[in-house]
C-alpha cells in the first residue's frame, strides 16, 4: 500500500481502543462461556485485499480451517472474519447448548453462534470506546473445512491495490483446545469515517 491509512497518532489511538475494547470483550465472553478466555494483544495493521490469504496465513497452525464472516455497520462499516481451527471446536458444543452428536450442519451453526458471540463482544467493546453503536448483520460461512489457502476461494477478486485496516485478536479457551482468530477489517475506501472517529476519541481527552 502506498500511503499509510492512519497517522501515527490515529494508529496509536486505534491500538489503545482495541486494547481496552478487547479486554472488555474478553470479560463478557468469559461470562457467556463461564470460562476464562485468553486474548492476545490486538494487532493493528494494513493489508491489501488481494493478499488476504497471506495476511491470515499462520494465524491458526492447523491444516483444516473454517471461516465465518459478519458485516458490521454504524458510524464505521466493515466486515469481521473469524477463523476457526477444526481441532477444538467440538469442545464448544456443550457450552453453546448443542448435544454431543454434532452433524455437519450443526457444526457450521455452532461456529456461526460462537463467531456471533465473539464478534458482538468485540464490536461492542470497540463501539463503547468510540462512544457509538455498531450493529452486525447475520453471520454466514465464508469457507468450511478448507486448507488455509482456500479460505478466500469463494470471494470475488479484490480490485487492484485496494486495502484494509485490520485489527487482529487471537482467542483461546483456557480449559479447551479451542482457538480462533478474529480479524476486524475496515475497508480503505471508507477509512475517512474511522479517522474522524479516532480524531474525536483523541479530542475527548
Amino acid at each position: 500500500m502506498n500511503a499509510a491509512l492512519l497517522t501515527e497518532e490515529q494508529n496509536e489511538a486505534l491500538q489503545e481502543i482495541a486494547n481496552i475494547g478487547m479486554g472488555r470483550a474478553g470479560r463478557s465472553i468469559a461470562g457467556v462461556f463461564d470460562e476464562f478466555v485468553e486474548l492476545s494483544v490486538p494487532r493493528v495493521r494494513e493489508a491489501r485485499l488481494d493478499s488476504l490469504t497471506e495476511a491470515v496465513a499462520g494465524l491458526i497452525p492447523e491444516e483444516t480451517l473454517t471461516a465465518v464472516r459478519q458485516g458490521f455497520f454504524g458510524r464505521v462499516r466493515g466486515e469481521v472474519i473469524v477463523v476457526f481451527g477444526m481441532n477444538g471446536c467440538r469442545d464448544l458444543a456443550g457450552l453453546m447448548g448443542y448435544g454431543d452428536s454434532l452433524v455437519a450442519a450443526d457444526e457450521d451453526e455452532l461456529l456461526l453462534d460462537v463467531a456471533n458471540v465473539i464478534v458482538s463482544a468485540c464490536l461492542g467493546g470497540i463501539a463503547e470506546q468510540l462512544s457509538t453503536e455498531l450493529s452486525v448483520s447475520a453471520p454466514s460461512v465464508l469457507a468450511s473445512h478448507v486448507p488455509p489457502a482456500g479460505l478466500f476461494g469463494a470471494t470475488r477478486e479484490a480490485p487492484d491495490g485496494s486495502g484494509a485496516l485490520i485489527v487482529e485478536v487471537n482467542f483461546r479457551l483456557e480449559r479447551h483446545s479451542f482457538a480462533c482468530s478474529l480479524l476486524m477489517m475496515l475497508p480503505a475506501d471508507g477509512v475517512g469515517a474511522i479517522r474522524q472517529a479516532l480524531d474525536d476519541f483523541l479530542a475527548s481527552f
Partner: protein, 441 residues
C-alpha cells in the same frame, strides 16, 4: 381480533402489519407482544399467548439450546441469528404453498434482537421471523441442479474416455486389416508363379534325368566312334568338367525345388496372416503359431540374431491363432530391431496350471524406465519416422486382453528385454470372470 387493537400506537400498528413475524419475550421467555404475522401463521391469538412461555406456545422448540441462545442475547446485549441453511426452521409454522407444496414448513431466518431499557439493561428480546421459503426452495433446486450437472459431466468424461478407447481399437483393427489385405494380395500374386515354376522344375528334373541317361548311353558306345570324333568329344567333356556339371545340375534342381517348397510354405503362412481379422476361437498350438510366424520374419532376423527355441510341453489352447501370430510377429520384429550387430532371441514356453507362459527374450538395447512406461501407448515409438508406427505393442496389448491373458515386460538398458505372455488354456473360465467384472461395473 383482539379488542385492544384500536389502542395500538401508529408504530405498534406498523410493526403489527409488517410481513415479518415479530414478538417480544422477557427474561423468563414469556411472550410480551405478538404481531399479526404471528397470529396469522402460528394460528394463535394474542390472548392465547401473551404472558405464556414460548416453550409452552411452541412445545417442539429445542429447549436447552434456545435457552442458552436467549441467555447470551440478554448477557451480551447483542443480537443472535439462525439461518435456514443450517436450521431450516426454528418455529414450526405452516408454509404458504398448501397447493404447490415442496417443503414441510415455513423456511425461516430468525433474529433475536435485544431491547434495552433506560439503564442499558436488556429488558426484552425481540424475535423476528423472516419467511425465506421461496429463496430456500430456489436455492435447493439450484444446488440439486448443480449436483445433477456435475454427475452428468462426470458421466460425459467417462463416455469421452470410452470413445477414445474405441477409436484406438478401431485404428488398430484397421491397421490389422490393412496388413491382412496386403499380405493376401502378395500371397496371391506369388502363389501363381511359384506354382507353375514348381511344376516346370518337376518336368525339368525329368528332362534332365532323360538327357543324362541319353549321354550315358552314348558313353557306353563311345569306343565305336572313330578316334578323331572320340578325342573331340572327350576334350569337350573335360573342358566343361562334365562329371561335375552332371552332378551339380541335379543338386541345383533339387535345391531349387527345396527353395520353392519354402516359398510355398511362407506364402501359406502369409495367407494365414491375411486372416488376422478373423476372430474365430479355435484350439491351436502355440508352438505352431510361433513357428509359422518365425518363418515369415526369419529374413529380418537371421542376419542379426540366432533364434534359440526352448519349448516346453504345451497343451493346445483356446485362442484366435491368427491374432496370436500378429502378437508374435510384433514381439519378434521389435526384438530383432532392438539388436544392433549380433545377438540372440530366445523363445521359451512353459505350461503352468491352467495357463501357458511364453517368453520372448532378446539381447538387444533394452529400455530406460521412461520408455518402458509408455511402450503400450498407441503411436508411441522411438524409431525414426517411417520405420515404426508405434502401434505394434498397443495392438499386442489389446489382443492379449481379448484373450484374457497378460503381458509383462522386464528390460535392462544395454542388456536386453524379456516379454512374458500368459494365456489361459480355456476361455470359458477366464471369460466368465471378466463378464462378471463388466456386470459389476
Amino acid at each position: 381480533m383482539d379488542r385492544n387493537e384500536s389502542c395500538l400506537s401508529a408504530t405498534d400498528r406498523m410493526i403489527d402489519m409488517m410481513d415479518v413475524g415479530v414478538f417480544a419475550v422477557d427474561r423468563e421467555l414469556h411472550v410480551r407482544s405478538w404481531n399479526a404475522f404471528m397470529v396469522a401463521h402460528a394460528g394463535k391469538g394474542r390472548r392465547e399467548v401473551l404472558g405464556r412461555s414460548i416453550f409452552e406456545v411452541f412445545p417442539e422448540l429445542p429447549r436447552s439450546w434456545l435457552q442458552k441462545k436467549f441467555d447470551r442475547v440478554f448477557a451480551l446485549g447483542a443480537p443472535s441469528f439462525t439461518s435456514w441453511e443450517q436450521r431450516p426452521w426454528l418455529f414450526r409454522l405452516p408454509h404458504n404453498r398448501p397447493i404447490t407444496g415442496g417443503v414441510d414448513c415455513m423456511q425461516q431466518d430468525t433474529r433475536l434482537v435485544p431491547l434495552k431499557n433506560g439503564d442499558g439493561e436488556v429488558a426484552l428480546v425481540l424475535v423476528c421471523v423472516f419467511d425465506v421459503t421461496d429463496a430456500a426452495m430456489l436455492q435447493r433446486r439450484l444446488a440439486e441442479t448443480v449436483t445433477a450437472l456435475e454427475a452428468e459431466r462426470a458421466e460425459q468424461q467417462k463416455l469421452i474416455a470410452r470413445l477414445a478407447e474405441a477409436q484406438e481399437q478401431l485404428v488398430q483393427s484397421e491397421k490389422l486389416a490393412a496388413i491382412g489385405q496386403l499380405a493376401a494380395g502378395v500371397a496371391h500374386e506369388i502363389n501363381n508363379p511359384v506354382g507353375f515354376v514348381m511344376s516346370n522344375f518337376r518336368s525339368l528334373e525329368q528332362y534332365l534325368d532323360g538327357a543324362f541317361a541319353l549321354v550315358e548311353a552314348f558313353d557306353r558306345h563311345i569306343d565305336l566312334l572313330p578316334d578323331a570324333a572320340r578325342t573331340a568329344i572327350e576334350k569337350l567333356k573335360s573342358d566343361m568338367d562334365y562329371e561335375f556339371v552332371a552332378d551339380d545340375a541335379r543338386s541345383l534342381v533339387a535345391e531349387s525345388r527345396d527353395g520353392l517348397e519354402r516359398v510355398k510354405r511362407i506364402v501359406a503362412d502369409l495367407r494365414d496372416f491375411s486372416r488376422v481379422g478373423e476372430t474365430d476361437w479355435q484350439w491351436a498350438s502355440v508352438h505352431g503359431c510361433l513357428d509359422s510366424t518365425l518363418n515369415v520374419v526369419m529374413n529380418e532376423i537371421k542376419y542379426k540374431a540366432q533364434v534359440v527355441k526352448d519349448y516346453g510341453e504345451l497343451p493346445q489352447i483356446e485362442c484366435m491363432p491368427f491374432q496370436l501370430n500378429q502378437v508374435f510377429l510384433n514381439l519378434l520384429v521389435n526384438a530383432a530391431q532392438a539388436i544392433e550387430g549380433q545377438g540372440s532371441i530366445t523363445l521359451r514356453t512353459r505350461a503352468e496350471a491352467e495357463q501357458v507362459v511364453i517368453q520372448i527374450a532378446d539381447t538387444g538395447c533394452g529400455m530406460p524406465p521412461d520408455v518402458l512406461r509408455r511402450i503400450f501407448d498407441p503411436f508411441f515409438t522411438t524409431k525414426p519416422v517411417g520405420k515404426g508406427t508405434g502401434l505394434g505393442l498397443s495392438v499386442t496389448h489389446s489382443i492379449i486382453g481379448r484373450h484374457h491373458g497378460s503381458i509383462a515386460v522386464d528390460s535392462t538398458p544395454g542388456q536386453g528385454t524379456t516379454f512374458t505372455l500368459r494365456l489361459p488354456v480355456r476361455q470359458a473360465a477366464a471369460q466368465s470372470t471378466a463378464d462378471r467384472e463388466v456386470q459389476a461395473a
